[in-house]
Structure formats: structure tokens, C-alpha cells
């Protein structure tokens, strides 16, 4: 099988954790390294959480520290959804590990250079690390195969009425990434809110008694408590969307569109302005905007991944 070389940049994060589980399990994907960024939680926590997930998976992916704050703005973490530790406050120890001195951007660049034109960069947090990498390495865009992000929305937002959390957290970084000239797949709220894992799904996985299955149920507790109050009937697998898109694009539907990030609006800061319908189409269609997913097919793949981890 021709496997995609993949880099994961994440702010783990419970849905980042599930995305990583899928990345580890899917035979189509070959994960080469992970960089942590602040977002759902502080960098200290997201970096630690990636190591904890390495432990859960019995894996030894190299982990790198990235930015501990957005380029220009204050960090907003999301404890209501991800728990105090960013990982649902589950009991998961941090295994002994090597502390790598290279930064996220240097490690990402080195990896891209080793796989020129091939590397699939999956980014499931704010895009700060990527923006810094593009700022530092002008040849990086042509070394990357594709960027697949969880972030943004073609219509409404979830942190403000106009903006989605990952983009809102560092809108300037997002703007750099959307203008980098690398083929981009945007899994925004349009699709991720449809990729719902429901209570019967995680109960089924947990009942199988595997470590991974139980972890899924446990880590989603705070998120589920938070979302139930908002009328959701499951937890959106936001960050798993770009990972599953990579391995199973046939489960998704998207359209090419011009996407720009608003960095100057008073109430639209961080909006991914998506030109799907206007009469004056933006000429440069810079992103594949993923709009829909076969939810049942998606959940079936995700469950298989969790089962495979044991």
C-alpha cells in the first residue's frame, strides 16, 4: 500500500486525541511526527498530552514543542470542552520520554524536506506553528504536499457568531496559512458538526473493555456535559475530520472556493470568509471546503480505528 507521509500539528485536546488515534490506526497513513501548539489548552498541557497519548497508543512518535501563544493575541483555552488538563481530566500517565530540543517549525521543515512534495500536514489546532514555519522557511510551501486543517466555517462560528475557535485563536496565523499557496483542505464546522459520535457509540466502544475504547468515553465526559446543555445529541469529532478525509475522501463532499481570513473586523475577527455563493467569485480558489460527510460511514471507520488499537 502506498501510504501518505503525515505530520500532525495539534493542540491536544480530546478531539485531537481521537484524531491521533485514527492517524495511528489507519493503514493508509504513515505518521512521522507531531508538533504541539497552544489552543485548547496551554502549550505545557498540549505537549504533555501528546506524550500521554503516545503512552496510550504504545507509540513513540517524535513530539516537538511549538508556540506557547498566538502571534499577536491573547490565548483563550477551552477548559469547558477539554477539561482542566486539555484531555478530559482522564487518568492517563505521562510516560518517560525524550525531550526534543528542536522547535515544531524546524522539525516540520526537516520532515517536509525529507519528503518533498509528499508530506500531508494535518493541523487540528490554531495555525501558529505553521505560520511561523512559513515565515521562517520561504521554500516550505513547495515542499509540502497538502495542508488539511480542522478550522473555520463557510457560514457561522462557534466561538463568536462569525468565527470558529481554531481560527479565532490566531487569525493572523490562519491568514498566513490560507495565503501560503499550498493545496488546502478546510474541514470547518460545516462538516465537523455533522461528524457526531453519540453516547451509544462510545458506550459500545467502552463496553468492549479495551484501553482505547474506555479512553474515548472517559475523555469525552466534559465535552458531552458541555454540549448536552446546548442541545447536541453527540460530540462532534472536529479534529478527526481531516484525518479521515485523508484516508477516506469518498466519505466526504466538498467544493473549491476562495477563502480569506478576516483579521480586522470588529465582530468578524477570525471569520473564514468563504466565497461559495457570491456573484463576484474570488478568482483564486485556494481551498477545498469540505461541506458534508456520510456520518455513519465516518463513525464506522472511526470505531474500527479504536478497535484496532485495543
Amino acid at each position: 500500500m502506498n501510504r501518505y507521509p503525515v505530520w500532525l500539528d495539534c493542540d491536544a485536546g480530546v478531539d485531537d486525541a481521537i484524531a491521533l488515534m485514527a492517524l495511528h490506526a489507519l493503514p493508509e497513513l504513515d505518521l512521522l511526527g507531531i508538533s504541539a501548539v497552544c489552543g485548547n489548552a496551554s502549550l505545557k498541557n498540549t505537549y504533555r498530552n501528546v506524550h500521554r497519548l503516545n503512552g496510550l497508543l504504545g507509540a513513540h512518535y517524535p513530539v516537538y514543542r511549538g508556540a506557547d501563544r498566538p502571534l499577536f493575541r491573547e490565548l483563550h483555552v477551552s477548559t469547558a470542552f477539554h477539561g482542566q488538563d486539555g484531555l478530559g481530566d482522564v487518568d492517563l500517565p505521562e510516560p518517560p520520554h525524550e525531550d526534543r530540543p528542536e522547535s515544531a517549525w524546524d522539525a516540520l521543515y526537516a520532515c517536509a524536506k525529507a519528503h518533498p512534495g509528499k508530506l500531508q500536514l494535518v493541523a487540528t489546532g490554531p495555525l501558529t506553528n505553521l505560520a511561523i514555519a512559513f515565515a521562517k522557511y520561504r521554500e516550505l510551501p513547495k515542499l509540502l504536499g497538502r495542508i488539511l486543517i480542522m478550522g473555520g466555517s463557510a457560514s457561522a462560528g462557534n466561538i463568536t457568531p462569525a468565527a470558529e475557535f481554531n481560527i479565532y485563536d490566531d487569525p493572523e496565523a490562519a491568514s498566513v496559512v490560507f495565503q501560503a499557496g499550498v493545496p488546502l483542505v478546510m474541514c470547518g464546522l460545516d462538516v465537523t458538526l455533522k461528524a457526531l459520535l453519540r453516547p451509544d457509540d462510545w458506550d459500545e466502544l467502552a463496553a468492549e473493555g479495551t484501553r482505547a475504547g474506555v479512553f474515548v468515553r472517559e475523555c469525552l465526559r466534559p465535552a458531552w456535559k458541555f454540549l448536552q446543555g446546548m442541545g447536541f445529541d453527540g460530540v462532534p469529532m472536529h479534529d478527526a475530520c481531516p484525518v479521515l478525509y485523508l484516508a477516506h475522501p469518498e466519505l466526504f463532499r466538498g467544493e473549491m472556493a476562495g477563502v480569506r481570513v478576516e483579521t480586522r473586523g470588529e465582530i468578524t475577527l477570525g471569520k473564514t470568509v468563504t466565497d461559495l455563493y457570491s456573484d463576484k467569485q474570488v478568482e483564486d480558489k485556494n481551498a477545498l471546503v469540505v461541506l458534508d460527510v456520510d456520518r455513519d460511514g465516518f463513525i464506522a471507520v472511526l470505531k474500527d480505528c479504536v478497535r484496532k488499537l485495543g
Binding site: A162, R260, E262, E266, I267, K271, Y277
Partner: protein
């Protein structure tokens, strides 16, 4: 069904779809038009005022017509000749205005009508919100005299003139911001619904077959509007402005959702966006009832049916 007619003020920038909206309002028998006011938008204030008088003459609407400001509150005027032509109402020949323009400007005329009406009045605003904002700024004491503002403008999901903004709001975002934060109930017909309220050739043919002088012209306006929109990829002619009238006459054919809506007046890409709190993240109370969907066939049938008011072919 209400028996008592709803008193309304028609404020718009005709414009084909404004003209069709007014023709529908006049025909329904359920709305009592108190006055008509013009605003600059689709064309200059001279042209939209002239068009307003011509349309009123065509449909036998004998009410005062007041002229609005020559420009938006802060912005330079922006027109849409690509959509409505140089006259703002290109297509069939129209009668010359039979009535003089009111001595009162748009804002004063609206204020007078609100003061004199025994019941609260619905403002049907189908252009930029310049006049309505002026009214609310100058006469806050009259807010209670306004039943609601039924407006065509904005889009919760997307824009048309820019990816983020719809034309009427983009022309005068500050006016829109004032109106949306004034505390007066708003019924918002944005692109979410108006681009679903499509009229197809078979619909305007049915109108043409009524063979009355108004229906003949409405059918030609619709054809003009259809040809333009088809050329830019639409399936039919979107009935933007008529939605703001139809929603008063037949609310049951629309799906609606109350939302907290704010207007962006800044931004590199988002000036003029109507930002709706779709996922309830602000906890703010809704200030607008947003029309999001419509039974298209029922909409077309009601429009055709209304045009019988102007006479049916007995031949």
C-alpha cells in the same frame, strides 16, 4: 387571515424587485400603503425617486412619494447598473409620473405617517437602510409607532456583492447597524431565503397571460431580471424584495428563525456582513426573525394570483 389591513410604509430603491414588491403590496388588499419613500441604492436618488413615482402611477397607488438622502450616512453612493440598468428600471416603457413628489423628504414623510396612523405601522424596507436609520435617529419617540421593519437585506449564510455582504447592507452598513440595534422588531429577508424564492420562465409566462397592463409589465420586469441572473449562473430570478412583502401576506410559506444579528461595519473582507448567532454563543436575545426558507411553488402561485388584481383577461 387578518381582516383589517396592515398599515405599511414602502421604502425602497426601485429597482425591478422593489417595483414587483410594491406591485404585490398594492394588489394584496391586505396592506394599506400610507406613503412611499425612495432611497439611493440600485440607482441614484434622482433615478430611484423618478422610478418610485412611475411605479406608483402604473399600479394606481395614490400616496405621497418622499425623496430620501442623496447618499448613504457615511459612504459614497454605490449603484447596481449591472443588475437594473442605467435607469434603475430598464425594460418595458412606463407611464410618466402622474403625481408630484412630496414636499416632505423621506424621513419627515415617514415620521408624519407614523404620527398620524392610529395603529403601529410596518415599514417595508427594500433598499439600503439609510432612511429608516435616519427616522430612528431623528425620531426615537416614534419607535413604538413601528410595528416592525420587514426588510430585504443581508444573509446569514453568505453575501452576494462580496463573499460576506449583501448589496443593501453593504451600501450603508452604518445605517444597517443603527437599525439592527434600535430595538424595533425586524423581519429579515436575506439571501438565505431570497435566493430560494426563484421565479422561472413558466411563472412569468402565466403572469403575461393575464393580459392586464400591469401584469404585462411585471412579466417583462421578471424576464429582464431572469435573463440577467441566468447570465451569472442563477436558475431563476431571485425575488429578493418581494420576499419582504410576501412574508407579511403569507408567513406560513416561509421557515423562520429568531436570531441575534449584528452588522459588521469594519473588516478587510466583512464590511456589511449580517452576522447571525446561529450556534447561540453570545447568549444575546434575538433581534431579528430571519427568513431562511420558502415553499417556492407557493410563492410563485401567490405572486401570479396577486397580479389578477390588476384585471383578468375575459377574452
Amino acid at each position: 387571515m387578518q381582516n383589517k389591513p396592515i398599515p405599511v410604509l414602502l421604502d425602497g430603491d426601485p429597482g425591478h424587485d422593489d417595483a414587483i414588491a410594491w406591485t404585490l403590496a398594492r394588489a394584496s388588499g391586505r396592506l394599506r400603503v400610507l406613503a412611499v419613500t425612495s432611497v439611493c441604492g440600485n440607482q441614484t436618488i434622482e433615478k430611484t425617486t423618478y422610478n418610485a413615482r412611475r411605479v406608483c402611477t402604473l399600479i394606481g397607488l395614490d400616496v405621497p412619494v418622499g425623496r430620501g438622502r442623496p447618499r448613504p450616512l457615511l459612504e459614497k453612493p454605490m449603484n447596481a447598473p449591472s443588475v437594473h440598468g442605467e435607469s434603475g428600471l430598464d425594460g418595458p416603457a412606463l407611464p410618466e409620473p402622474a403625481m408630484a413628489e412630496s414636499e416632505l423628504g423621506a424621513c419627515e414623510l415617514m415620521a408624519k405617517a407614523l404620527r398620524e396612523s392610529p395603529e403601529p405601522v410596518t415599514i417595508v424596507a427594500t433598499g439600503p437602510l439609510t432612511n429608516v436609520a435616519a427616522l430612528l435617529m431623528a425620531h426615537p419617540e416614534l419607535k413604538a409607532r413601528i410595528a416592525r421593519i420587514s426588510l430585504m437585506g443581508g444573509g446569514i449564510g453568505f453575501g452576494n456583492w462580496t463573499p460576506a455582504a449583501e448589496f443593501n447592507i453593504l451600501v450603508d452598513p452604518e445605517a444597517a447597524k443603527y437599525v439592527f440595534s434600535a430595538g424595533v422588531p425586524i423581519l429579515m429577508a436575506g439571501l438565505d431565503v431570497t435566493e430560494k424564492a426563484l421565479i422561472f420562465p413558466e411563472d412569468f409566462r402565466r403572469i403575461g397571460e393575464l393580459h392586464n397592463p400591469v401584469a404585462d409589465i411585471v412579466a417583462q420586469w421578471l424576464e429582464f431580471f431572469y435573463i440577467f441572473h441566468k447570465s451569472i449562473g442563477y436558475e431563476g430570478a431571485p425575488m429578493h424584495d418581494p420576499c419582504a412583502v410576501m412574508a407579511l401576506l403569507h408567513p406560513e410559506i416561509f421557515t423562520m428563525r429568531p436570531l441575534a444579528v449584528e452588522i459588521e461595519t469594519t473588516g478587510e473582507y466583512c464590511r456589511g456582513a449580517t452576522v447571525g448567532d446561529v450556534y447561540g454563543v453570545t447568549g444575546r436575545a434575538p433581534n431579528a426573525t430571519c427568513l431562511l426558507g420558502v415553499d417556492r411553488a407557493a410563492f410563485a402561485d401567490y405572486l401570479v394570483e396577486a397580479m389578477k388584481f390588476y384585471g383578468e383577461d375575459k377574452a
